[in-house]
Amino acid sequence: MITVTNLTKRFSKLIALNNISLSFPKGECVALLGPNGCGKTTLIKSILGMVLPDSGEIEFNNQSISGKWLYRNQIGYMPQIGRYPENMTISNVFDMMKDMRKDNKGVLDEELIEQFGLNKLMNKRMHTLSGGTRQKVSAALAFLFNPDVLILDEPTAGLDPVSSESLKDKIIKEKRNGKLILITSHVLSELDDLVTEVFYIEEGKLAFHKKLIDLKTETGELKLSKAVAKIMLAQ
């Protein structure tokens, strides 16, 4: 569904992505792993067209995304740090997004808004919100339009355990609906029951790509974190 070929991106001297090629098929739940600053967020932002790569190609449903914007109708994005216009209330933000994506036919998915209890906070302004509540707003927005692809950058960072669990349940539910889900996270233990494929990125390059089952059988470990650690030590 999303194919990345020979993507390179430099930020002045730093090489964020170094000739990386990978592809994410439909219906998978993919974990993008790697140390801090290895280029995960840059890769995600390149797919969203927020960062423009120096060279290489990104295809969405076999069509190049460069200069396009309509393909983003099919993507729900939850950023690592949600930044919103400070003097808008939560309901302003939701109304604005609904208004802007109105051409998106289909039913709105407000399940997360209910589960996170955002209904009671609708009149609060964005600058008064705690980090966790912002994350909830970001998550609810990402799922709101029933997109085919969900890109979640550190989704559970800053969420309380209850909300974190309901988000995970939601992710599993959407995976069953045949959506492509891209997750980056540092907390590997959280990904155990979610992901089906693992991409490990290091210094802007793909270190390895394996199915979760293969990874576990190869290393003989039951936990994703241990399996990844074992593979990284072996290399």
Binding site: F11, L52, L70, Y77, R83, P85, N87, M100, N104
Partner: protein, 255 residues
């Protein structure tokens, strides 16, 4: 695109600065017209205030607004929207609200006290100056991600067009005073939108005789319908070119 424009305008209106700017202009224009003995004198005083105030407010407010909308822009770019329409909507929102502020604050008093061709000309140049300086501000804001640097650049640009440019022209004139520079002056005035507006209004007021032979040349060039059109095209070019350059930068920017 219209939707983004709507949200930008609502946001600017909620921001009280534009309202304060309107009242400030209203206060200045009403007091100027009431203090001076004749409406024409009032118009001339107002011209001098407006030529300083509009560029300053427009360039600084727009630059700060663009920097403060960084979150809003980031949010929109990840949505199915064209970058071009996001940027143009920001431009449209800023120009329409600042133009409205100028029209209410200065345009209506001018129409009340001095509703002739000169007055209308002054409103038209005021509106064009607003548009030009919003575009220049968008260019300045796109140059750097550092807010302090961007605002500094804006203030410098304002200072350049209001003071430094004229000083440079004067210096140039004194250095080459043995040569006939009158026609060169016509060309030089196109390099500064504020000068272009000032000359236009002064010619309309029939005080070009005060400017000596250069005034006569200006009169000959700008005084007729063709010249007026030409100077407005000059202002339009300033706005369009700065906007296009800023748009090109925004299209290539990483967010």
């Amino acid at each position: 695109m219209n939707k983004i424009l709507k949200y930008v305008i609502v946001d600017i209106v909620r921001n009280k600065i534009v309202l304060i700017y309107t009242f400030l202009l209203l206060l200045i224009s009403l007091s100027v017209f009431n203090l001076e003995s004749s409406a024409t004198k009032g118009l001339l005083s107002l011209l001098n205030i407006i030529l300083i105030l509009i560029p300053l407010i427009c360039i600084i407010f727009s630059t700060i607004y663009i920097y403060n909308s960084a979150e809003f822009i980031e949010l929109l770019v990840s949505q199915p929207l064209k970058r071009k329409s996001i940027w143009i909507s920001l431009f449209g929102g800023l120009t329409s609200s600042l133009c409205l502020a100028f029209f209410v604050g200065a345009g209506i008093p001018i129409l009340i006290y001095h509703a002739d061709l000169t007055g209308i000309m002054m409103i038209a140049t005021g509106l064009s100056l607003t548009i030009v300086f919003v575009s220049i501000a968008m260019l300045a804001a796109g140059m750097t991600r550092d807010k302090a640097k961007g605002i500094g650049l804006s203030i410098f640009l304002w200072l350049f067009f209001s003071l430094i440019f004229d000083a440079l022209v004067l210096f140039f004139l004194f250095q080459f005073q043995d040569y006939p520079l009158e026609r060169v002056m016509v060309f030089l005035s196109f390099l500064n939108p504020i000068d272009l507006s000032r000359i236009q209004i002064l010619l309309q007021m029939d005080i070009s005789a005060l400017m000596g032979y250069t005034g006569a040349i200006f009169r000959e060039f700008f005084g007729n319908g063709f010249g007026i059109m030409f100077s407005f095209v000059g202002l339009l070019l300033w706005a369009v070119i700065s906007l296009l350059f800023s748009l090109r930068r925004f299209n290539k920017q990483d967010l």
